[in-house]
Point group: C2
Chain length 202, copies 2
């Protein structure tokens, strides 16, 4: 009986191998050969599931965006259905999903950063990168709007400006904590996020 | 009479060509051949001034750090010697040096980002990247401390936390404005920076 291979599972394995190579050695290292080696399959199998290098990278980037935004959405749902007492803590948890505070999120932030920078000079990735940046802003804007509706935001806060301020702060903190963990240790990342949220309140 | 070539000027030309290639096509594109083509000289001449690809990239990264930090330092001097009325405006000018608000700063931010991400997986660049991140934090910490000394900072501000918050905000804003200029237009970059500085005040 021939071995049954689930194509979706096999594509997911190749994508995980792609993330591992990018996180460890950078975007340029993620060639079809390196990814195949990492996944422990031959390059012909990779080509069976992806038409080429370009499609693999686009699919991998879309998978990372989907993975992170799915998790964020579940945090948003938790915040919305929580009672007043737990909302502040759950909001912190939501925002911390985007920060490299453990190995899983370190890998995600590394892959996200490598993809974002690569997208700057690779038109085929640019649309996904822009979609991802806009999606994060929409989600954080939603969190800030709901804080405003329940009177948990300073009266003078401009949602558009505050959304960009919080998104940029998280992007910059992510980058600092990932690239310079001694200069930007995890305790400081948490202290900065908490100071920022405190100052947003009335 | 043989043509006289100033080695310092020639190295600077090669470095400028390196910046142009990185800004346009990304870090991986900055091979000795591409840089030589961009500088309009042959690859042998590049090798005459730099022992190899590694030395060229390290020297280029150090030159960018020196260029930006020299300019920042002159802004710090201007802030320190200014009278009370002009200080707030000069502080904004100083911080805006780090943001991609015109073509010169767009190129600098692009090169800085590409170098920072490349340094993540290239040990020979990592020390310079860490030095640069620490230097920016020292400088912004100095600006915030001097605001505190003249009573221009909120009483509850923790300088270490506020320094990281402002540095991360600027890094994230730089990245957003560079990578997604339509999602993060220049007017919004300025509005975010100004909202942040306003909230730092007592």
């Amino acid at each position: 009986m021939p071995k049954i291979v689930d194509p979706t599972a096999r594509r997911a394995e190749v994508v995980d191998a792609t993330f591992a190579v990018i996180a460890e050695s950078g975007f340029a290292a993620a060639t079809l050969q390196q990814v195949a080696d990492r996944a422990g399959i031959n390059i012909g199998s990779v080509r069976h599931y992806f038409s080429g290098h370009g499609e693999l990278l686009e699919f991998a980037m879309a998978s990372m965006i989907e993975r992170v935004s799915g998790r964020l959405q579940s945090h948003v749902d938790a915040v919305v259905t929580a009672d007043q007492a737990q909302r502040a803590e759950l909001t912190v948890k939501l925002l911390e999903e985007l920060l490299p505070l453990d190995d899983r999120r370190r890998l995600e932030v590394a892959v996200w950063l490598e993809f974002s920078i690569a997208a700057r000079t690779r038109p085929q990735l640019a649309e996904l990168a822009t979609k991802s940046a806009a999606g994060t802003r929409r989600l954080i804007g939603h969190v800030l709007s709901s804080m405003q509706q329940r009177g948990a935001l300073r009266g003078d806060a401009d949602i558009t400006v505050e959304t960009e301020r919080l998104c940029s702060l998280i992007d910059g903190l992510s980058m600092g904590a990932l690239l310079h963990p001694r200069t930007v240790p995890r305790t400081r990342v948490r202290a900065v996020l908490s100071a920022h949220l405190r100052q947003l309140r009335p």
